[in-house]
């Protein structure tokens, strides 16, 4: 039981530390990666708290999807490309349809 509590305590502290790091890591990309790690650890905590299905949702949606969105956005905002997401801009001119 104490081991469990110890584990929980460490997990909780790690969460808080990660949270702080996400907010203060100088590199935005790194922050987003840490955010994903935060989400996964959070999911782990929820498994510990007897909520596996919610943990699954958090891992898939909270960490996974949100993380991907964030990475993509961070890529745009820092001017760096997210690997293989941003193809070279094709000459995709707007197709003006004129009068339909």
């Amino acid at each position: 039981m104490t081991i469990d509590l110890l584990f929980d305590s460490i997990l909780a502290l790690t969460l808080a530390w990660l949270c702080w790091r996400v907010l203060s890591a100088p590199d935005l990309f790194k922050a987003v990666v840490l955010f994903i790690a935060f989400g996964l650890l959070m999911a782990l905590a929820w498994v510990r708290l007897n909520a596996p299905d919610i943990a699954l949702a958090e891992a898939a949606i909270g960490a996974g999807l949100t993380g991907a969105l964030m990475l993509d956005a961070a890529g745009q905002m820092t001017g760096r490309s997210f690997p293989y997401i941003r193809n070279p801009e094709p000459a995709e001119q707007e197709v003006d349809h004129g009068e339909p």
């Binding site: 469990d4 509590l5 929980d8 305590s9 909780a12 502290l13 969460l15 808080a16 949270c19 702080w20 996400v22 907010l23 935005l28 922050a31 987003v32 955010f35 935060f38 989400g39 959070m42 905590a45 929820w46 510990r48 708290l49 007897n50 909520a51 299905d53 919610i54 949702a57 958090e58 949606i61 909270g62 999807l65 949100t66 969105l69 964030m70 956005a73 961070a74 745009q76 905002m77």
Partner: protein, 104 residues
């Protein structure tokens, strides 16, 4: 110290840290990250409550349902906020909210 208290206090701490982040960070993305983690903090508290409310090993499903709903709501709002932020960035090159970009 019980599981309930550990995670309950962790949720409180996370919430407070994220509030600090939202106030002090000016980068839009950080603000959105902080808001998202703030949501996670609240969900953590709810799940802790569910665990506390368990009867015969079954956790309280109502907070679970609330969290699931909350996650989807949070991701929706986040994604929309990101879409706005990216468009804003694409238009102006700014990564923080500027008033003078408005037409004051």
């Amino acid at each position: 110290m019980s599981e309930f208290l550990i995670y309950g206090l962790a949720a409180a701490a996370l919430f407070a840290i994220c509030l600090h982040g939202i106030i002090t960070r000016t980068h839009i993305l950080r603000k959105i990250l902080a808001l998202n983690m703030m949501g996670s903090a609240v969900f953590l508290l709810l799940i802790t409550i569910a665990e506390r409310n368990q009867v015969d090993g079954v956790a309280d499903p109502v907070p679970h349902a609330m969290v699931l709903t909350g996650i989807v709501v949070a991701v929706s709002a986040t994604a929309f906020a990101l879409a706005l932020a990216r468009r804003y960035h694409a238009q102006t090159g700014h990564t923080e909210l500027h008033d003078e970009d408005g037409s004051t």
